[in-house]
């Protein structure tokens, strides 16, 4: 089969079938395959990102089960007396330890749960923290709490993301590519961090957080 004539000045060896430069072929193939590879971590980090963005509204790693129990108020006494009374009244097992942060408040500690009582008010709150099964693991990966070897994985993923961003710009040519609408979309995307940074320098980071 005769080679397809080309109007470009690229050397013949740097071309593939259809007149596409070889680097574009590699760019497209790497973008495709690294994109497939990045799907898992991208989704994991996206879910975790949404979760940790709202850390001021909730704890993305834990849920805190709270049950309030009422009982007949009792007079303030010494710690051991109050602990024994609370164990009896609330039908609790013997705690591994107890502490009084204030004369009327008693904390009872158990393995992975605790009770805080106000004997004067006659209320006790039973707290049972529970780790969010999947989300806490995703957050640990996203925030690199593992350190060590995971740092290498996270660095590699960051490099892959940077490559995907650059290679993605170069996949299409002409009006759909950087020469056309692609350029304006890239500039619009760049404007987001640039405007934010300018805002921080002019008004301070707290102004942006409002």
């Amino acid at each position: 089969m005769a080679p397809v004539p080309s109007s470009s000045s690229a050397p013949e060896g740097a071309r593939r079938r259809g007149g596409q430069p070889r680097w574009r072929r590699w760019n497209r193939a790497l973008h495709r395959d690294l994109g497939y590879l990045a799907v898992g971590l991208t989704l994991a980090y996206a879910v975790s990102g949404l979760a940790v963005n709202h850390v001021s509204d909730w704890n993305p790693d834990w849920t805190l089960g709270r049950e309030t129990v009422r009982f007949e108020p009792m007079p303030v006494a010494d710690r051991d007396t109050l602990v024994a009374e609370l164990v009896r009244v609330l039908d609790l097992p013997e705690p591994k330890d107890a502490f009084r942060p204030a004369p009327e408040r008693v904390q009872l500690f158990y393995d992975d749960w605790n009770v805080e009582a106000d004997v004067r008010a006659g209320t006790a709150v039973i707290e049972r923290p529970r780790r969010r099964a999947v989300l806490a693991d995703l957050n640990a990966l996203h925030l690199n709490r593992l350190r060590g070897a995971w740092t290498l994985v996270a660095d590699a993923y960051a490099a892959v993301l940077a490559f995907l961003a650059v290679s993605g710009m170069l996949i299409l040519r002409g009006r759909q590519g950087l020469a056309g609408r692609g350029r304006w979309l890239v500039l619009a995307g760049l404007a987001v961090p640039l405007v934010a940074i300018a805002w921080i320098h002019v008004f301070g980071s707290e102004a942006l957080g409002r």
Binding site: V55, S56, D57, W58, N59, D61, W62, L64, R66, R79, K96, D97, F99, R100, P101, A102, P103, Q107, F109, Y110, D111, D112, W113, N114, E127, P129, R131, D137, A140, L141, L143, R145, L146
Partner: protein, 156 residues
């Protein structure tokens, strides 16, 4: 067979993320550097003597920051006394189940002076986190606040 190996690897990797729970001790941040500890009651008896010094305290965790895990309250060796151990957000994240555990905490003992408005804001935030009632009129003036600005901890 390959799929089974993959699933097994993922299960083992997931178990690794929870490894801290299975270990006897968990180290946070830079850990602690030394065996000796200072009783919290000693620190709070003459707090200004200790300001700016690096100290280690041992005690049971009585409270933990519920959103960010960025501080814990440590029970003193005396009743009605606790010391807050504050870490930089994100550098150390204490899990919610640290409450009730005993640990050794290392950091710099510092003094903070809060205006009445700051003291109200801090008390209000604490009350909101704990679902408690808050009456700003209970705070009548500026407050002096001591805490351990933490660098590391080892918790059982």
């Amino acid at each position: 067979m390959r799929l089974r190996t993959l699933i097994l690897s993922l299960v083992l990797a997931s178990a690794g993320l929870h490894g801290g729970a299975a270990l006897a001790e968990t180290t946070y941040g830079q850990g602690v550097h030394g065996e000796d500890t200072t009783p919290i009651s000693v620190l709070l008896a003459n707090p200004d003597q200790w300001v700016g010094k690096t100290v280690r305290v041992k005690g049971r965790v009585t409270d933990v920051c519920q959103k960010r895990g960025c501080w814990v309250a440590i029970a003193s060796d005396q009743e009605f006394q606790t010391l807050r151990f504050k870490v930089k957000d994100g550098e150390i994240v204490f899990p919610q189940d640290v409450k009730g555990r005993v640990g050794v905490f290392e950091g710099v003992f510092n003094r903070y002076e809060l205006s009445r408005e700051q003291a109200i804001a801090r008390a209000k935030h604490h009350a909101e986190e704990h679902g408690e009632k808050f009456d700003p009129s209970e705070i009548t003036g500026p407050e002096v606040w001591y805490q351990l600005d933490g660098t590391g901890a080892v918790v059982e």
